[in-house]
Symmetry: C2
Subunit: 194 residues, 2 copies
């Protein structure tokens, strides 16, 4: 319990002012006010506006997960990730996930649904991350990458995924969050089968 016993203080944003544009994101200053039990306060906080993210847990018919290996510019390293990207304005997250899956890997799925919805970083990012489950994925097309994109497709069985989590090869935190949902789904299937 907080010392007040009234729950954590809440703030409301009274003004949003753009600070910097950076192509795929924008920095905004949030003029914010706290009212209520903890006393009135006024302060500025900075946040990053971005389109929503989508990650896709895509399974082939022989139950392998589709991964892509690609260079990431902020870390300067190659990462092993599940497919994903930005949700276009007005686009359904499941449709966005299937679009990114096909663009990055050439795979198309038979069925898809939302596996989980999260906040990538609610302290400094305003957007959401949806994890989509795509089943029965088959390679039907060539990759269709953006100008500076280059992905290498890898198919991994679930025990190989766990091994690469444990040895640190899969180390992108937002990918790990999406894989946690898949881990819970698999635990649910095991529980109902036993």
């Amino acid at each position: 319990m907080s010392e007040s016993g009234r729950g954590p203080a809440r703030w409301r944003v009274v003004a949003r002012e753009p600070v910097a544009e950076a192509r795929v994101f924008r920095v905004v200053r949030l003029r914010s006010i706290r009212e209520g039990g903890q006393g009135r306060a006024e302060a500025d906080f900075f946040a990053i506006d971005s389109a929503d993210f989508v990650n896709v847990v895509a399974l082939t018919e022989d139950d392998r997960l589709i991964f892509v290996e690609q260079h990431r510019h902020a870390s300067g390293e190659l990462t092993l990730e599940i497919p994903g990207g930005l949700v276009d304005a007005g686009e359904d997250p499941v449709a966005a996930g299937l679009r990114e899956l096909e663009e990055e890997t050439g795979y198309v799925a038979k069925q898809a649904c939302v596996l989980g919805t999260t906040r990538p970083n609610p302290a400094i990012m305003t957007n959401r991350l949806t994890t989509v489950l795509a089943l029965g994925a088959r390679p039907v097309a060539a990759q269709s990458l953006d100008e500076h994109e280059d992905c290498e497709v890898q198919l991994l069985a679930w025990d190989e995924v766990l091994a690469r989590i444990d040895d640190g090869r899969i180390d992108h935190a937002l990918i790990l969050a999406s894989l946690l949902f898949e881990m819970r789904r698999r635990a649910g299937i095991s529980a109902s089968a036993s």
Copy 2:
């Protein structure tokens, strides 16, 4: 495989230029060059520089996890998180985790170690996130919060943590990534006990 068969293209940063300062992070422009098999290219990418993050999986002696509920300014929502924060310059991540644990909750642990190291978002953030495991945590002090910080402490048994992942109450992706490491640790203990 990529069509080239040479692995994904890699880039190197040749210049870093600050674009905007936002207190806990800074936007930088990365002038980057790609060389090798995919052909030479030059482009600018934007990234967010921040101090490294630390999250703490802190267990009490009766095996409950310590959570804090707090308002997050970018999402405008209350979130249920494990303790964490920014690693100070030159600070050891385990020491940073124990410091954040004590400041946010008043709990002090008997033992601590690194549970996993990740990238919060290697596409746009340059920093790392370390997850620290802290054992034998006991309440010994009052909270010591920053001016605009207000956290409410909650203790949750592991099955309650899983229930709150499944119902979406715990939805901070970086917290989920840290909890995935704890899930793997518990799976390892179960496997070695059976």
